[in-house]
Structures are given as structure tokens and as C-alpha cells.
Amino acid sequence: MIEVQNLAKSFRYDKVALKERKKKSRQNIDPREDNRHFHAVRDVTFKCEPGKVLGLLGPNGAGKTTTLRMLSTALSPTKGSIFIDGTNVIDSPLTMRKQIGFLSGKTSLYRRLTVKENVAYFGKLHGLSGKALEQKIDKVFDLLDIHSFANKKAEDLSTGMQQRANIARTVIHDPKVLVLDEPTTGLDVISAKTIVDFIESYRGSNVSVIFSTHHLHEVESVCDQVTLIDKGVTQFNGDVADFRAIGNGNDLYSSFLALVDESSSQSEQSDIKQQAFVGA
């Protein structure tokens, strides 16, 4: 089980961003900004049981990617804690990485390596070797139907094949927690379905899946729970059914709009944040 408690992350502005801020009028400044820092995540709390899929929702700039990057140990939180089966990830990130699998729309494969080499490489980095690694690769390739293009270089693969190979890379070490950051963004319908099917396959398993997306129909089809964050703060935690009940239209869309401050969702995309912050 993964448990996130009062997670916060702030980034120091760089010189360019500070200059830009001086030009900006006070009224337009996001309440999360102070003189020197941008608080990308201020207070996020949720938990996800094994076998459950948690949909992480929020408008652009809400802090979803930063939160997921903290879960994956790429970023260290400024405050708060992340527990996987009772062990604090922040205290021993190196060890805990063996329990985490991370996939996003932006992560990719080494294009000059074959699919098998890519997956084997990550398997080795996670401590697998020899026959155990070979067997594991075979099993994952069977599951994802990769054998036919296992010896093709990643650069020669179609988007759909690349996604399947990416999934294989993500799960080769049998993680207990899967962190997926908008994995279907920019994919065609077939490739996106591969991902959704893959997430679906983990329901009822011993793996917790945290899945961020902007596509509410994907949440509807695969998620058990929903966490909605806005301006770096958790606005909702609960079952999909409870989430649906919040909105007037008894659908996820109206619930989303009911919980998110619309004015913030329009202003959050200001250029300064996009350019100046680290991974906001």
C-alpha cells in the first residue's frame, strides 16, 4: 500500500523568473508564489491499497506531475511523507525504487538499443540477472505480446510498439507501486487502449496504481478511487462513485468543475511558471 501524507514541494525561482515576476502586477500573482519560491505542491494526502487504481486529477499546473515525481523519488519533497508498506520512501529512496515503476508520456526508450536490450538493461539496474532475468523478460514479453519485435531497435518501432516496450521496462522488476503520469497523452486510440488495458490488468492484483490523466472517461473505466488536487492542495479523496455524486450532472466532468476553481485553472498556465520552475 502507498500512503501519501501532507506532501509539499517548493522550488526556488531562478534569476530569469525573478525578473519576470517583478514585471508582473501583484494581482496576477498566483497565491502559491512568494518572493523567492513557487509552491508547486502545498498539501497533498491520499492512499492507495494494493489492487486498486487511483486516478489523480487536476487542472494543468495543479501539481500532479510534481506529486508523481515525488512518489517516484525523482524529486525530494519539501515536507510530508510517502510510505510504501510502512517504509518511508524519503528516508531510503534508493532501496524503495525497487518497489516503484514509473511511466509517463515523456519517458522513452534508448532508441539505439533493441527492445530486449532496453528491458534487460533496466532489469539489471534493478538487480535482476542471469536466468531469473531471462525468465522475467520472457514472461513480460508474453504478456504484452512483444516477442515479434523484441530484437528491433526502439527507433524502428511504431508508437504502439514503443508503448508496450515502455510498459515492459516499467514492470520488469515487479514493482509494488505503479506511478503513471499522463501515459496516454499524445497517443492514438489504439496505443492509448494498450495503456488502459495494462492499467486495468492490475486491478485486483497486489500492486497499487497511481494514474494521472486529463481523460475522465479513462478514470471512469479503470479507476477505483479519485484524488483531485488543485493549486497544490487535495480537494477530494474517495471512490469514483462518491466523486461522481458531487457534481450536478452526476458525472465526472461536472464533479471536476465543481471542485476546481475555474479562475485558477485559467491563470495557472501563465508563462512564468512554465518557463521558470523546475518541473512545476
Binding site: 525523482a74 525504487r97 522513452s108 538499443l113
Partner: protein, 404 residues
């Protein structure tokens, strides 16, 4: 760390650009370019030597012996133009430009009389000397040398002088140069400035592309983040990347040197090139090994610097912008070692890159001070270590890794 090293290396080997810059350029392309240039130069020299030279002579009757001497020369052709004796310098220049003839000799009207009196007769040679392979002056001088010698002998006989007295008359005191430098030192001094410069630039260029590929290249392709999420410490990742860049930089130099040795042997045995023969006589295998040893920390310095820049950059374009200053700041200390009067001493031994450059020069010259070499190796290694330490610090900073 070894797994990352192996993977990075495998990826580089499969990359055409790396293969071109690290393997093909030093082993085939560079020797081919040098060989090609030498071949063309040789051809052009031969052509210039055998080229037909059309010429005119003003005041031919003043010194007929000169005209006869030139006419006897192979590929010399006397031509005639209207009002030959009236042509001004400007008109001669224009005619040469218009290719009416290649050169013109203007003989002094009283030339014969001057010679008879035992005086010097000055002949003007008009020709276009802008071409690098121009042989006109040498060929005309060679044609007239015989005449000079005959005239000199007749004058010596006339005045009852011998050649030794003539030397006493023309140059009463002469200085004979006795070079205390042995053959090796002499050759080393001549080529010693070029070798470190060429080798260090090769390390830098050989390491540059892999550094870009493994730092900012990985950032752009989205593979760096994946790598950071594996249970491998960031320090190990930095070290693996550093060692791959170090290896490729060093490999470029190794291949270049190996290629130079092989091509030199071919040139020596097949074409019997004199300069190569001289070089192989003075430089021993142990010297080459010593040069390699001194270059190792240099490769480490460049690897650290390039990796730092590559990791810091937001994108490939930004990284390429950092490469020019790195190149410049690397070349300046190397250029110091070429400056006249800069010799290896206890002060220069602490100046990064200049010290190694001077040390290599000393190795080639055969005047190695092993104590000094030790200091240079140590100081350069320490600097490389410090740079690698900072590189590691940067790689552990979120603000650098996720700079966007």
C-alpha cells in the same frame, strides 16, 4: 555502474556520428586528408618545376650570355613582343597578368661593361610571386648560377686571388653554428609544439559528442528521468557517464596515434619519406606511453567539463552554445605552451593544460624531468577530480536535472 557504462558504450558504438568522430575521423579521414594534401602539394611542386616558362628579355644585346643561358634551360621559351625594349614596369606587369609571358628579365644596358670591369650587374626579374608553388625565381637563379661561377673564377684569376682570399674579402669574420642540442632535441623542438595541441584538441572533439548525447541528449529524449528512477545512486550514474566520455576522448587520441604510426610506417617503408625516418629514429615506444600517461588526466578534465555543461543545459542547442567557450578556454592554455620563451618550470607546472602541453614537448625532445612530470600528473589529476566532484554535485541537484 558497469552496466550503465556498458550500455552507454554500446549505444555510442551504434551511433554513426560517434563512429565518424571517434573512429573514422582519426583513423581514415585525417590521414586521408593529410595524405591528400601532401600528394596534391607534391604534384603542384613537380608541375611548377616542369612548367614551360615563357619569357622576354629587355636589352638582350647588353648581356647575350644570360639570354643564351636561359634559352638552354629545359622548358624555357623566349618570346617576342612589340617594342620589347620600350616596355615600362607597368606594361610588363600587365603582360604577365594577361599571360603574354611568365616573366621578364630587364638587363642593365651597361651590363657587359660592368662585368668586364669586375663589378656587379643587377638584373631585374619581373614575375608574379603570389603563388605558393612558384618556382620562377629558383629556376632563373639556377640558370644564371653557372654564369656567376664562371665570372667569379675569371675575376679570381685576373686579380690572382684564390677562393679563400675571396672569402676573406666578402666576409672577413664568419660565425659557425655548433648546435649542442642532439638530433632528438632538435626534432622535438620542431614538432613538439604541434603534437600536444593536436592531441588535446582531438581528445576534446572525441569526447564532445558523447558528452552531449549522454547528458542533454538523454534529457531531451526522456531517458534520463527513467534512469534516475532506478536503484542506482546518482553518483554511480555520473561516474559511469564520465568514464564513457573519458574512454571515447582517450580512444580518439589512441586511434589517431596508432593510425599515425601505421601510416608513418607505410610512408617510411613504401615511400621512404625522410622526415618520417628522422622522427622514428628519435621517438621511442616508451615516449609514446609517457605521452599517453600525461594525457589521461587531460581526458578526465575534458570529460568532467563537458559532462557538467551537458547536464546543465536545457536542450541540445543550449549545450552546443556551451561547447564554444569550453573549446576556447581549453585552447588558450595550450597556446601558451607554444609561445616563445615559455619553458616548463615550477610555475608553469601548475597551470592546467599548459603544463601537460609543455610536458609532452619535453618528452618528445627527450629532456624529461620525471619529478616535474610527477607534479604535473598529480596536479592535473587533482583538478580532474575536483571537476568530477562538482559534476557529481550538479547531477545531484534537482534544479539542474529538471531544469526546463
Amino acid at each position: 555502474m558497469w552496466e550503465i557504462y556498458k550500455k552507454e558504450f554500446l549505444e555510442l558504438v551504434r551511433d554513426k556520428r560517434t563512429l565518424i568522430f571517434t573512429v573514422l575521423l582519426p583513423t581514415l579521414i585525417m590521414p586521408a586528408i593529410f595524405g591528400g594534401v601532401a600528394f596534391v602539394m607534391d604534384k603542384m611542386n613537380k608541375k611548377a618545376q616542369q612548367e614551360e616558362l615563357t619569357f622576354i628579355v629587355q636589352n638582350q644585346e647588353a648581356m647575350p650570355a644570360v639570354v643564351e643561358a636561359l634559352k638552354k634551360q629545359e622548358n624555357f621559351k623566349l618570346v617576342s613582343v612589340d617594342n620589347i625594349n620600350e616596355l615600362s614596369s607597368e606594361e610588363i606587369k600587365q603582360n604577365i597578368k594577361d599571360k603574354a609571358f611568365k616573366f621578364a628579365l630587364v638587363l642593365p644596358v651597361e651590363g657587359q661593361a660592368l662585368l668586364k670591369q669586375g663589378q656587379q650587374a643587377e638584373i631585374e626579374l619581373h614575375f608574379n610571386n603570389a603563388s605558393l608553388t612558384n618556382k620562377i625565381y629558383q629556376r632563373v637563379k639556377s640558370a644564371i648560377d653557372d654564369l656567376n661561377e664562371t665570372q667569379q673564377k675569371s675575376l679570381l684569376a685576373k686579380f690572382n686571388l684564390d677562393e679563400e682570399t675571396l672569402k676573406g674579402l666578402t666576409r672577413p669574420i664568419s660565425i659557425k653554428r655548433v648546435n649542442t642540442a642532439d638530433k632528438r632535441e632538435d626534432t622535438g623542438e620542431k614538432i613538439g609544439w604541434l603534437l600536444p595541441y593536436a592531441l588535446m584538441i582531438l581528445i576534446l572533439t572525441g569526447a564532445m559528442y558523447p558528452a552531449l548525447d549522454m547528458g542533454v541528449g538523454e534529457k531531451e529524449r526522456g531517458t534520463l528521468e527513467t534512469l534516475l528512477l532506478t536503484p542506482v545512486s546518482r553518483t554511480k550514474i555520473v561516474f559511469a557517464k564520465f568514464f564513457v566520455i573519458f574512454t571515447t576522448g582517450f580512444l580518439t587520441v589512441f586511434l589517431t596515434l596508432a593510425s599515425l604510426v601505421i601510416w608513418s610506417l607505410v610512408a617510411l617503408n613504401v615511400f621512404a619519406v625522410e622526415a618520417i625516418k628522422k622522427l622514428t629514429e628519435v621517438i621511442a615506444f616508451t615516449d609514446v606511453l609517457l605521452v599517453f600517461t600525461m594525457l589521461a588526466p587531460v581526458a578526465a578534465i575534458f570529460a568532467s567539463l563537458l559532462l557538467c555543461a551537458s547536464i546543465y543545459a536545457k536542450n541540445f542547442k543550449e549545450a552546443q552554445n556551451y561547447m564554444s567557450p569550453i573549446m576556447m578556454f581549453s585552447i588558450i592554455p595550450i597556446v601558451f605552451s607554444i609561445l616563445p620563451g615559455v619553458q616548463l618550470n615550477s610555475t608553469w607546472a601548475w597551470v592546467p593544460l599548459t603544463n601537460v602541453s609543455l610536458a609532452i614537448k619535453e618528452i618528445v625532445k627527450g629532456t624529461v624531468d620525471y619529478g616535474m612530470m610527477g607534479i604535473i600528473f598529480l596536479s592535473t589529476t587533482i583538478l580532474a577530480g575536483v571537476l568530477l566532484y562538482f559534476c557529481n554535485l550538479w547531477f545531484n541537484r534537482e534544479a539542474v536535472l529538471f531544469r526546463s
